[in-house]
């Protein structure tokens, strides 16, 4: 009887181990949110402002990123005391700054349309309620990233346009199997100078923000496997009020 029980127990244990192994994509994603503050806190996020530095080619450039619900966003850098908007989107227009004239210029219409398609849904995290956003997530086995076993999750967002043709917007996220936070994402450029270039973003230095959410304070980018630029956050502010004018393209400047 004793033997039988222990056999049964072993069977149950190994079943349990099996279920740990056989993760579903939703289990991975749910664990990720659970381990980084819980879905409720994520959902309560209205806006975020990251102040930090970008490091590339030996230069250290002050950088600010603001994002808020609805997809409004702005990335600006500071060059020699001048604030330069690298990319901004006010919900209907996306724009950038020309480095020669230092004037604002509209982004290509297709690019703006693509931002409208997925940009609004990506905040604060593309995986939060991804099904309601019309996104698809699939677990595609495991892959070792940075010597660490990860779940490979394929995220397919709504199709975007590339040179007039509809294409899937696909990215891969690699969630550490130990702690379920993503340590890398991978996308492939679709057009222009980034066409065909595999961009990998490594995420680390997860820290708790004022809203109780854990976020990566360090991101390093690789292009076709080669180290490109890195971004470190000095300060992450959440749920602050941002003047809507911040996002609007300046006129006549």
């Amino acid at each position: 009887m004793k033997t039988l029980k222990s056999i049964a127990l072993t069977a149950i244990l190994s079943l349990a181990a099996w279920s740990v192994q056989a993760q579903t994509v939703d289990e991975v994603i749910d664990k990720y949110f659970e381990n980084t503050g819980g879905k409720a806190k994520w959902a309560a996020l209205k806006s975020i402002k990251i102040s930090g530095k970008a490091k590339a080619q030996g230069m250290e450039i002050p950088l600010t990123i603001v994002q808020e619900q609805g997809g409004k966003q702005k990335v600006s850098i500071n060059f020699q005391g001048k604030e330069i908007t690298q990319v901004a989107f006010d919900g209907s227009n996306a724009w950038t700054t020309n480095f020669q004239t230092m004037k604002a210029e509209k982004m290509e219409a297709e690019e703006t349309e693509n931002m409208k398609i997925n940009g609004a849904s990506d905040f604060p995290d593309p995986f939060l309620g991804y099904k309601d956003k019309g996104y698809k997530a699939e677990l595609e086995g495991k892959e070792t990233i940075e010597g660490t076993e990860c779940f490979k999750v394929k995220l397919t967002k709504k199709p975007i346009k590339v040179d007039g043709k509809s294409e899937d917007e696909v990215s891969y996220y690699f969630f550490d199997t130990q702690n379920f936070v993503p340590i890398m994402s991978r996308t492939t450029g679709k057009k222009g100078q980034m066409k065909g270039i595999v961009q990998e973003t490594l995420m680390s230095d997860y820290q708790e923000t004022s809203s109780g959410i854990m976020m990566p304070f360090s991101m390093s980018m690789k292009f076709n496997g080669q180290v490109g630029q890195a971004m470190t956050a000095d300060k992450v502010e959440t749920n602050i009020t941002i003047d809507p004018k911040e996002y609007v393209m300046p006129e006549g400047k």
Binding site: K82, T101, T148, L202, S204, F217
Partner: protein, 1034 residues
């Protein structure tokens, strides 16, 4: 000897000898793959100017910009831009490709790749099954047929993408039942063998009727290769047809010659499926050649037996028919040919690399051809008369590699059908096609530079038909091959004949036939220092009869020859020899007596090719030998070590190695660090062979034929047979992995002092159509081992100089395993005065002086410290005093730049403050207005206040002039010019004038104004301190 040079020697010394490693038995280190290698990454340097053998081309059915290229040993490449650039999309899998197919119902997404080349020359590699991508090539999944070895064709039903047929040519060197036509009806989950002939006869071509997917034609080929022979043809070779999706098949030979047949090519006209062409290899010359059928294969008629149609059927059996005109067809061949009259007559195609294997004809412009050759991809816009080469496909197939002692060092090697070459390991702007130079013709194999004479190289061509000593400077080559003397038998040389230098005598050269030949005068005179060291088996010396139905005596099957030779680095009297028929011979008396020690090797099948001998550099009784049995169908790894001169042997491969091995390289410093070149990539052990890991970072599972280690840079240089030369820069971190290291959380690795290179060449080139290989990184490396990946909490890295002053902030690597962090040893760029436009000179960061710096890495609450040393370039044309003058001047200008920025900040604060107060109280007008005028007048001379960063630029002002001088001085390693120093004086004068003026205002006018503001109950104007200004980002 100056101090810095002495320092360099002292610091290098510990890396030169055995150090701490000794010859003790190594404890096992079970870390695998990236857990160990972390962020170590190899670089690929091509070259692409000669490219390599292309097996298969596949075009997108509707988008003419998309082209797929399958290489013999270099994987799958895709262009999405009309062939200007190609990207490798199959890097994770075997690089030997047989067939590529796109699903006609979803060609952007569904891509099938069948592995294993079907042009079965002697040097061909192997495949391991069929793969499918459902996401446009981002990821491929193996879908079975693992034992197929070679897949000749994939046909997909255009009405149902789950129905796929695969033609499996199968094993080349052995009998196998894994061949024939296979079909899946569930997208590759399961396969059914629907046509099988016998275990010697495989499906060499499979085509589907473009209008009726139930109709397929399958060519079957009886063939076999051994190391010493090739047979094409037999009674089982045949052409079959099905009209019911493969349920039933019938031979369609009406009109074909009787008797034995060889390889059969077949093609169906896309514009008229009743018209078929077939090329037949048969017993008699007058029945070989092209056959045409106008009734869907029911009857055949011979139309032509020209050379290009009948030449080497095993290599060239492919016909491609124009998509619109069934009378225009292209035939693969030595030069390739085209018929425009339905196969009656042919003309040879225009000049391109010989040995044509496949064609793609653009359906929208049928004069636009893309062609696969032994030397890469060619394209034509005029139907094949004039061809240009794609110059960015680095799929070159090296047989061997060696390095020289130039700085930067050069890489030498020979390639399949593409001669012998050398090129640099580093070149301004990257390693381009134009950086490579030819040092031999034909097929190239082993190439060496003379150890002391920089202008002399040795190279050879197939079967040692020629062995050259080439003077690079004088452009003269002398044939120096050993020749048979009176009463000697004919010399037998391998296709890839053994040749090596001596580690002891610079003018010495070894060449292996069946005998070992030695020259001590660079090949002028030869001494035979051995008897026949092979088995001399006459049954394996019938190359004249090789080929089967078509004679093929190219030298590729020469056998019973010496394949590998090496003189012990520790004793010139000890020489090891490996033969292709499985002998391992050793002499300890410089060739007087020889002992065949192969019988002492345990668990080794008889006559397994002794592919590489590697005498140890640590112990003269130790030697490694790699055996390789793939040419008898044995794909097992065989690598052995002896420590007693060959009396006993121990296998050092484990189940970690999945395939056969061609090469082993012993590290120069740590005897437990070994590198294996396998048919599926590079494997590394750090514990003397107890555990092996594949090194994957930028090294695909490509066949690695040879490995060199550069003794000064510690670079590992791989000769790959399909992806050119791949270099893993500085392997010294791998030398330092021990059981103790991997037990700790963080361990810094010792690195050689970094030489601060001063050369900075102008670089031009790198256009999209040309391949550019990566240069090594010149910067200092901070290398450490992390036990676990850092994901949570802060991790930072700072650099301090000898006085404890912080000089840099770096982003640390966080990978488990070895991390390499680049440090460019530069200060941050100076803070530059704010202006309307950018000051480009201001983006220059000063290079730090040589010396020792402290790295402080903080991970959570723990801090780890490490020292890095920068030393001056020993080839520098500058003195220490020159460099000191440069640094001093640079820093003076750096400080002036920042001081100017602060002055302008103060000026702006006073000006904007005064203007603001004026808007609040008009009484200030009298005082403030003239003040503003004065301020503005000065500011306009200090910084640019209008214009843009390009051709709308305003006249440069003081800031721009200062930045120009600063960047000029900072950008050169030596003493500034006299003109620059004079200019500094001028600028200092202007700087001081402005400073005096602004400080004057600060100390006189500003207090007065502030007193008035207080009276008027307005805020005082406050200026920030220099430190506050520096700390502020905005």
């Amino acid at each position: 000897m100056n101090l810095s040079k002495r320092l360099l020697l002292i610091l290098i010394a510990p890396f030169g000898g055995l150090g701490a490693f000794g010859a003790f038995a190594q404890e096992p280190i079970p870390l695998k793959g990236d857990e160990l290698f972390g962020t170590l990454r190899a670089r690929q340097i091509g070259p692409a100017l000669m490219s390599g053998r292309i097996v298969e081309l596949e075009a997108h059915p509707t988008d003419p910009r998309v082209m797929y290229v399958g290489a013999a040993g270099g994987g799958v490449w895709r262009s999405k831009d009309g062939g200007v650039t190609y990207q490798s999309i199959f890097d994770k899998h075997t690089q030997c490709i047989g067939a590529i197919a796109l699903d006609p119902t979803n060609p952007d997404k569904n891509i099938w790749v069948g592995t294993g080349e079907v042009w079965t020359r002697n040097s061909v590699s192997i495949g391991d099954g069929i793969y499918k991508s459902s996401d446009g090539g981002e990821n491929f999944t193996k879908m079975g047929l693992e034992k197929s070895e070679r897949i000749s064709a994939i046909e997909i039903d255009p009405t149902n993408a789950n129905v796929v047929y695969a033609g499996v040519q199968g094993a080349l060197w052995s009998a196998s039942a894994d061949r024939g036509v296979y079909k899946t009806t569930d997208g590759g989950k399961t396969w059914e063998k629907i046509l099988y002939v016998d275990e010697n006869t495989g499906c060499s071509e499979l085509v589907m009727d473009p209008k009726n997917p139930q109709v397929l034609y399958a060519a079957f080929w009886e063939h076999r290769r051994t190391a010493w022979s090739f047979n094409s043809g037999g009674l089982q070779s045949a052409l079959y047809k099905t009209t019911d999706g493969g349920k039933t098949w019938n031979k369609i030979h009406n009109g074909f010659p009787a008797g034995k047949l060889g390889r059969i090519a077949v093609a169906i006209a896309p514009s008229n499926p009743n018209i078929l062409y077939s090329v037949i290899e048969s017993e008699k010359d007058d029945t070989k050649g092209l056959y045409r059928s106008d009734d869907a294969g029911a009857n055949w008629k011979r139309t032509n037996g020209d050379f290009e149609l009948t030449v080497r059927p095993f290599y060239f059996s492919r016909i491609v028919i124009d998509p619109k005109n069934p009378d225009i067809l292209y035939k693969a061949g030595l030069s390739g040919s085209v018929s425009r009259d339905g196969g009656k007559t042919f003309r040879t195609l225009g000049y391109m690399h010989s040995d044509i294997h496949d064609f793609v004809i653009d359906p929208n412009n049928t004069d636009h051809l893309t062609i696969a050759t032994d030397g890469g991809v060619y394209r034509s816009w005029d139907g094949g008369s004039v061809l240009d080469m794609v110059k960015n496909l680095p799929v070159s197939q090296f047989y061997q590699v060696s390095v020289d002692n130039a700085k930067p060092y050069k890489v030498y090697g020979g390639l399949q059908d593409n001669g012998s070459w050398y090129g640099p390991s580093e070149s301004p702007g990257g390693i381009e096609n134009r950086d490579w130079f030819s040092v031999g013709q034909g097929d190239g194999f082993r190439v060496y530079r003379h150890p002391t004479k920089a202008n002399i190289t040795y190279s050879e061509m197939q079967g040692a038909e020629y062995i050259w000593r080439y003077d690079i400077d004088r452009k003269q080559s002398k044939v120096i091959k050993p020749l048979a003397e009176a009463n000697e038998p004919k010399l037998r040389f391998n296709w890839n004949a053994a040749m090596n230098l001596s580690p002891h005598k610079p003018d010495r050269l070894y060449i292996g036939s069946q005998f070992l030949h030695r020259s001590d005068d660079m090949g002028e005179t030869w001494t035979k220092i051995s008897p026949d060291l092979t088995t001399n088996d006459p049954a394996k010396q019938q190359q004249e009869n090789s080929g089967g139905l078509s004679a093929d005596n190219s030298g590729a099957e020469n056998h019973c020859t010496i394949f590998s030779v090496a003189e012990s680095p520790l004793d010139e009297n000890i020489i090891w020899v490996g033969t292709d028929d499985g002998n391992v011979q050793v002499t300890t008396d410089s060739g007087k007596t020889w002992t065949n020690v192969v019988a002492n090797v345990p668990n080794l099948p008889k006559n397994t090719w002794a592919y590489h001998v590697e005498p140890s550099r640590f112990d003269k009784n130790t030697c490694y030998v790699v055996f390789e049995g793939h040419s008898s169908g044995d794909f097992a790894p065989y690598t052995y070590k002896t420590t007693d001169g060959g009396k006993t042997w121990k296998s050092i491969v484990t189940k970690d190695i999945p395939t056969y091995v061609r090469h082993i390289k012993e590290d120069l410093v740590n005897p437990n660090l070994l590198f294996l070149g396998t048919e599926l990539g590079l494997y590394v052990t750090v514990d003397g062979g107890q555990n092996w890991s594949q090194f994957k970072s930028n090294v695909p599972p490509v066949a690695v034929h040879y490995i060199a280690i550069h003794p000064e840079t510690n670079d590992l240089v791989l000769a790959t047979h399909g992806r050119g030369i791949i270099i893993l820069d500085d392997i010294s971190p791998l030398r330092q992995i021990t059981k103790d290291v991997i037990a700790k959380d963080v361990v810094f690795m010792q690195t050689k002092p970094t030489v601060v290179r001063e050369d900075a060449a102008f670089a031009e080139g790198g256009d999209a159509g040309e391949y550019v290989g990566d240069n090594p990184s010149r910067v200092a490396k901070i290398i450490y081992y992390l036990k676990n990946r850092h994901t949570f909490g802060k991790m930072t890295m700072e650099i301090f100089d000898k006085d404890g002053k912080k000089v840099g902030d770096l982003v640390p690597g966080k990978s488990k395993g070895i991390n390499v962090v680049d440090w460019a040893y530069r200060l941050k760029t100076p803070k530059v005065a704010k202006a309307k436009t950018l000051s480009f000179g201001g983006f220059t960061a000063p290079r730090l002086p040589v010396g020792t710096y402290t790295v402080k890495m903080t991970k959570g609450t723990n801090t780890y410290e490490h020292k890095v040393t920068l030393v001056a370039d020993p080839n520098s044309m500058h003195t220490d005093a020159d460099r000191a003058a440069q640094y001093e001047t640079t820093m003076k200008l750096y400080d002036m730049t920042e001081q100017l920025a602060y002055m302008v900040d103060n000026l702006d604060a006073m000006r904007d403050g005064a203007a603001d107060r004026l808007t609040k109280n008009a009484k200030l007008k009298k005082v403030v207005e003239p003040m503003l005028k004065e301020f503005d007048a000065l500011k306009e001379t200090l910084v640019v206040t209008k214009g843009d960063n390009y051709v709308g630029a305003a006249e440069p002002q003081f800031r721009e002039k200062l930045a120009s001088l600063y960047s000029e001085v900072a950008g050169y390693a030596g003493r500034p010019s006299n003109a620059q120093m004079a200019n500094l004086k001028v600028l200092e004068g202007r700087f001081n004038d402005a400073k005096t003026k602004i400080e004057g205002w600060q100390t006189t006018q500003l207090p007065k104004l502030n007193a008035q503001l207080v009276k008027l109950k307005l805020d005082e104007i406050k200026l920030r301190s220099f430190d506050e200004f520096k700390a502020a980002d905005k």
